[in-house]
Subunit: 312 residues, 4 copies
């Protein structure tokens, strides 16, 4: 009932061909369709039309929207009413306004993020994992930053949208500075982290095994893209993930993500990290320190003024 | 609501110390507690008291019960009434009758399998994945055999117990001879396969990566247990799993299981295999043929007459 | 001085395009050149023109020649004289008779195998391991069968050609029925095994990690070639290799081979296996039994009558 | 003839028990023997008494000696004469002065490093790879720093000691600032790098697969030793190695090393890196930058004054 999982993200590019080459040839995703200034890509095990939309923009980079799939068309009506009851402006998106997708609604969430909700999407061919490059099998999560403690965002996504917390980290004053929240039974569909601004830190794509993380790094190095491997591979204590952070050719950061765990118990007790534990082993379990650039992120489209992005 | 996942299985042993040594030292599980003729083991990421009960018996091997966790205590009352309405005899199991577990109910399902349902269980320390041997992170599924097409079992577990089908295989007459059913968001908590009798074929334990499957095989070989590696490692086309089948020292078969996929969409359309496809690539994707012993299984306790096993 | 390593093998095919597709697209090798009825392939880390020659034949399959690289041109003269002193007929092969190769000599060894020795070969571009498919990094060994104990072959290859024994297996009467012999510092360049005839059992190609063995099996399955995975993956006790045995489209058997060890000590004491140990864990460490077809092999060109194969 | 491979290193510790715990329990080595203030450890596939000597010292850390194995006892006499002819002081080390070792000679090389040469060493039980922790299978190399271009060291180790260069990096003036040199058929037994002083940068231990590098990092993290993971895991462009750099409890740096290649051709043409290429991808193929501490190293015993270390 309600949101079931992160469905797709829309990332901006100044050069659509270059971006497609990167996500298909290097990362290992599959191009479903290219229409106008948009390309629709999916991961190799996806059975739907897209989990990544690349949209041409004249300058800059960033994220056009973050889309969660809901269980039924009725959820769209229910959530539309809920958002409007909260005073949020909701945009109705007609079927096929975003290629391959049924009717959707869009809303700027109270924290500044452009959220889309949809149920219907055209089917697409799921591929055997191993036809060629071993790429991501699915989109996993987005990591969002806001310049204040995340308690309010956690409350909103939990109480209004049904997300559950898998792990969280607290300031000494017991406000929360980071939380991993999920609808699907993994550690997260969305992570909230207090940071220097309102932005998307990364979109995470899942690969099944640790050597898949290494393979993507090797493919990047073999194409002279080593400087786009921003950080990693490494291990997060939180979620246990084995990761690397990569910049696409437009500077959008993605995470190649592996090694977290299933949460099948609805009464899962969130794992709590103190600020001290977070610094010692939570953020990074193996001691490496990230470069300064890792504290930056990419802008998100501002829907409080006017909708943008694919199909708008 | 209702069943959330496979919780644990009870396997019979004639030599408890030998069985514990095997599951802890070779397979890599954790001993929580040993009481009377029972040992309670868990997987390394388990946060509950046990996912495997080893119970001493004078002879033979087999499975004492198969336990599913339910979302709440209320589910126990609701399911008790449901079973009784179907004319099934339900046994009430007091808290701590099975060590570490709250109140439970037991029922012989219509197909001959001893099912337990429980909600409450003592917490246990989740371990970092890598303190010592890399063992299974969780129990994953049971594979059950009945001597007739499985359509009725699928219908019962779907319509009465809320399971969903991830993949299934059909006879030419469109009766189903195998089905993989899940409550947690993996390919299965229980698989039903038509076979030469009513028995448990194996209990499956999950390891995160393919090399973990190999490591367990190597640990067995290094201890002279190579003949207990009954089949594999190999790849199932169905579920995409990378597996090996292992006999414990009492001859109970377990599967070391890795590499299947997440099913986060409640409207997942089951993947259909014809009998021909099943034989060609579904059962085994890489062409190896199993030994004859792989068609056998282990008996399950008969609760239509009188309950047996841990706490009974 | 003398032989340094196995250099290449020549395998027969009835359909050159199909064979190239298999070795390049599925196995992951690199095509250097295609000339007449021959294709010259190399492994991804090779720095020479070829380590596999595919030669078109009207029917059948098998091996045209087995080529060892020698340290210098002088070795060719020295070994030619040595062979002739033994009464063996030596064929001089002009430079470029086999494309990319300098002068070579060919001889039928006393056990019936067509051996080529060469030093000079055109350089070729070594590839980063990870441009696309992760294929074999180098040719590793040939496994040869003769219908008698292998003591004489071991003696000849050791005393006359400088090979060393890494591991061997003995009959109860202390004759040797299998021996792994090397010039490069791995467990073998050539294995001799007593079997039902004189034939090549397989050519072995090396991959760096166990998941590379699995990836090739998955690539085969994803192309409907699962029945060409004849046996494995599995573990040999002898050499500790993690392997799978694969038939190419013409039925030539190759081994995808990983996980053996470096032998840097010239005084390495060969590891001895009794027949009983060989059966229990030596041949196969994990208990699986091979299909009957694994006892067969492919014919080798008969050079005692007239030379055949590439460049002849 | 002459040196065959790096045989062992001696590292200093202020707390022998703590050091043994680290190398055995965390890294996965095997303790052969503990005598007086020394512990003798080996890697899991070693067939000799030790490849690491831990020696108790009152303060500091560092390396007591670097030992190469020679092919025969005669080599000791020949090399003793050669060193003395060069005006180097040679110390004779009696059998068993270093436990388990036959007669040896020690010399301070012209660049300030304490070198031992030996042939005979007691045999030790080679272990199956997988009895417990998957630790290093063998010692691989030492990485040595001198404050000047390394051309002279390369010439000396090549022309006088028979080493071959696998890869090297040049200043724009064509002096060499780094070179990887080998006797065994891997990329190196010793690396020479121009740096800020005369010291040992690390001793490298080999693990077979990339996940073994990750497992050791995870074992360290699970024991609270994450800050001793100084850098990595990462990929070197040079040698293609997948590595992590680790400090032992005394601050001695070791490298967990995997993924380089076999060099079976005696006429291997060294791979040349310009300073620019070295910076771009040679040193680190994936773009991560090391912490400042990675430019430091540990002192080596000064044998130009008086011999120190195990057995002296």
């Amino acid at each position: 009932m309600g949101i079931t999982r992160l469905g797709h993200v829309e990332l901006f590019t100044q050069d659509l061909d270059r971006a497609i080459d990167f996500y298909v040839d290097v990362i290992g995703m599959v191009e479903t369709e290219r229409v106008g200034g948009h390309a629709y890509l999916r991961c190799i095990e996806d059975r739907h039309h897209h989990s990544l939309v690349l949209t041409t923009v004249p300058e800059g980079n960033g994220c056009g929207h973050i889309a969660f799939r809901v269980e039924s068309e009725d959820d769209l009506d229910r959530l539309r009413a809920q958002f409007e009851g909260e005073g949020l402006a909701v945009l109705e998106v007609e079927a096929e306004a975003e290629r391959g997708q049924g009717r959707a609604i869009r809303v700027g969430d109270p924290f500044g993020f452009p959220i889309e909700l949809y149920h219907a999407m055209d089917p697409a061919q799921r591929r055997p994992r191993t036809h060629g490059n071993r790429g991501p099998t699915r989109i996993d999560h987005v990591n969002l930053r806001i310049p204040v403690p995340v308690d309010e965002a956690v409350r909103y996504y939990r109480d209004r949208l049904g997300f559950m917390v898998s792990e969280f980290a607290e300031h000494p004053d017991q406000t929360t500075f980071a939380a991993w929240m999920h609808r699907k039974q993994t550690t997260h569909d969305v992570a909230w982290v207090q940071g220097p601004g309102t932005f998307i830190h990364h979109a995470g794509f899942y690969v099944p095994e640790s050597h898949d993380v290494l393979d993507i790094a090797d493919r990047m190095a073999s194409r002279g893209m080593q400087h786009q491997i921003e950080f990693g591979p490494g291990r997060h204590g939180i979620t246990n993930a084995f990761f690397s952070y990569i910049r696409d050719p437009d500077g959008n950061r993605i995470e190649i993500y592996s090694g977290d765990y299933l949460i099948a118990d609805p009464d899962w007790e969130p794992i709590r990290w103190t600020a001290e534990e977070f610094e010692a082993t939570g953020r990074l379990a193996w001691g490496s320190r990230p470069p300064e650039s890792m504290y930056e992120g990419q802008p998100v489209a501002d829907w409080s003024r006017s909708p943008a992005g694919a199909g708008a």
